[in-house]
């Protein structure tokens, strides 16, 4: 029951443009030391998948820098391992716009793979899960596609893909709509499909006019055997800056941390940076916060998440904020509800404040 993993690294970037100005969504920092892609990548590795293709489109330098040869995820292998799949350029071709076009673009990768199954996921799903039972379920149901869903209250603000399942968990109806309310079975953009099945779809795409995965493939519930698989446990999906802020802050709850980082002994792997330990100096204070290695805290930090190498000077106060790698807060500055991107420098005696629903964002390398 071997599977190959495929990750989409550029999906949804328009909606979270602040954080993706210089990077793919996949390499957006999360949780004090991780990048978003670490979660799905680790999930695949923890599920015994040893070959993972990452589909990239643009801005993927930071992603390449982060994943490198894949060795931090044990994906530096003689056979398989981590494979970056940049756009396959022919003059005159457009960069792909949809998930379906992206898959068509990696047809050769899929054709050359030997695994029977393909596990596909977006890169912004923050969870800790094992795909092994999903693959078993997929085989048992003799499914063409097994789509993972979670049950969630929705408020109709966004375009979503929802499932109606029959008594056997087969997807009976797929609704792509912005106007849905109440408790729904929401597609997570994680699915398992037979590799040969996927190739047959790609082969027939032109003849049958397939353009979108959710609109043209998933909706054919009668023609294809599509099953739903419920996702339990901690799951967060990042689709805009305020959800990024809220989902990050949820990590201050032990329950969420345990569920995300310590589920069944499955670790989330990331690139090691060899920072010094976290140092809280005399007179510094930290409360209800996640603080990464390499930080030096001389001031006060409360309800915040600090990435590696952040410095908070004497007399400074940081509350309800998220500060990325190597940013610094000068003496007697006060930050509240701020997201500061990498290497942002806040000089002395500055006061910056956002609101929980609209965190104040400071771009990479900005000096305030």
């Amino acid at each position: 029951m071997k599977a190959v993993g495929v990750i989409f690294s550029n999906i949804h970037e328009k909606e979270i443009k602040e954080l993706t100005a210089n990077r793919t969504l996949a390499s957006v920092p999360f949780g004090g030391r991780f990048r978003l892609i670490d979660f799905v990548l680790s999930n695949m590795v923890n599920s015994g998948i040893t070959k993972v293709g990452i589909i990239t489109k643009e801005n993927y330098q930071s992603l390449m820098d982060h994943v490198g040869s894949g060795r931090h995820w044990d994906l530096s292998r003689k056979n398989g391992g981590l494979i970056l799949l940049p756009p396959y350029g022919e003059s005159g071709t457009m960069l792909y716009q949809s998930r379906f076009e992206a898959i068509s673009n990696i047809e050769q990768f899929l054709r050359r793979s030997e695994e029977d199954f393909v596990v596909m996921s977006d890169c912004d799903n923050v969870c800790n899960m094992d795909f092994t039972p999903v693959l078993k379920y997929h085989v048992r149901q003799n499914a063409d596609i097994t789509a993972l869903y979670r049950t969630k209250m929705v408020d109709g603000r966004k375009m979503r893909t929802l499932f109606e399942l029959d008594a056997d968990s087969r997807v009976a109806k797929v609704i792509n709509s912005e106007k849905t309310y109440g408790e729904q079975s929401l597609f997570t953009n994680i699915l398992v499909a037979g590799r040969k099945f996927l190739l047959s779809i790609i082969d027939n795409a032109a003849a049958r006019g397939f353009k979108s995965f959710s609109k043209d493939i998933l909706t054919r519930t009668g023609e294809f055997r599509i099953f739903g698989y419920p996702l339990n446990g901690y799951f967060a999906n990042i689709d805009d800056i305020s959800s990024y802020y809220n989902v990050s802050m949820e990590l201050l709850s032990k329950e969420h941390r345990d569920s995300l980082f310590f589920q069944n002994g499955m670790h989330i792997y990331t690139k090691v940076r060899d920072s010094a330990p976290l140092k809280v100096e005399q007179g510094g204070s930290v409360s209800n916060s996640l603080i990464a290695d390499g930080c030096i805290i001389e001031g006060e930090v409360k309800n915040s998440i600090l990435f590696r190498g952040v410095r908070v000077a004497k007399g400074a106060s940081v509350t309800n904020s998220i500060l990325f790698q190597d940013s610094s807060v000068g003496a007697f500055s006060r930050l509240n509800c701020v997201i500061a991107d990498k290497q942002a420098v806040i000089l002395e005696k500055r006061t910056l404040s956002g609101h929980e629903t609209h965190p104040y964002f400071i771009a990479k390398n900005t000096v305030i």
Binding site: F261, I268, V280
Partner: protein, 394 residues
Amino acid sequence: MKKKRCIAMLLAGGQGTRLYALTSMVAKPAVSFGSKYRIIDFPLSNCTYSNIDTVGVLTQYQPLILNEYIGTGEPWDLDRTYGGVHTLPPYQAKSGGEWYKGTANAIYQNLHFLHAYDSEHVLILSGDHIYKMDYSAMITEHEHNNADCTIAVIDVPKEEANRFGIMDYDADKRVTSFEEKPKKPKSNHASMGVYVFKKDVLVRELEADERDPASAKDFGKNIIPNMLKSGMRLFAHEFSGYWKDVGTVTSLWEANMDLLGENPPVNLSDPNFKVYSRNRPLPPCFIDGGGSAENSLLTAGCEIYGKVVNSILSEGVYVGKGSVIENSIIMRGTRIGNHVSVKFGIIDEYVSVEDKVKIGDAKSNKDNIALIGRGITVKKGGLIAAGEIVEEGR
């Protein structure tokens, strides 16, 4: 293959008996240090910094954890196609086999390793010191002096000189005398146990020493004095940075505490000279609303619900509600329950301290450290006095 300029041999087989419970199950170089490190990270990272890409680590005593820790050498960039880090335990050969009988004998038994790389020079290191040093400067000096052997030297307080190999040298830094642990030291120039030898000279000296039945097979006691006696070119390389032996409970505690405060003598945050280590991919340190940390080092995976003051905590340490950790070192994976007090204590890895335990005393000092050995469970309400040592089977 191109001849290498210098390879390193790191002596990591010592038992470290004066660390008591801390080394009952692990070799001294593998003892936790400074929150996210082990002692051996320092010499290995020095090698990385000094562009030495081939390191033989001589292990003997309790090698399991040390071997696992070194692994392929990837954390120190020592996973190399030609070279890299290799652990060298004693082995059985056609003519028999035996344990390493001394520092010199350990290298002698691995002459085949030296021959395999056939470098110009060999750097001898030990795994019991905390220091950051650029060995390449020393090797350059060694080449410049056309020395047979260059010994790294640091000036120590006069009253401590009798614990070291003490030497004298002239204005050209040529060594004129060398005495291992002298009763009446003639100077305070102490050997750091860091030597660079010409490879051919080292091989010859080791072979000669091996034939001498009276020899203790030790660099400080035999090899160096014999070379001096036969008029060979021995030079001193002066080192003035931080260098600390962590062979006793007191010195281990002191060296850890030296990392606290502003501008500590060992800079762990220098981006140009990092100290590398192997760490688990844990989430960042969490300090709860009811917890606090001051003048302390903490690292990934720590969960702090109590109060931590003047202390060093390693990865994955949990401190429960109402507990107070003061002037103490807590090593990786240890769990401290609720309402526990730890003062002037060193608690080894994977210890479980249940609720309402009292370890050590606030009025204690560095010479009376309470020590809890690896994997011990301290039962609820337990009392461990200042200076007490708790270990398996005692």
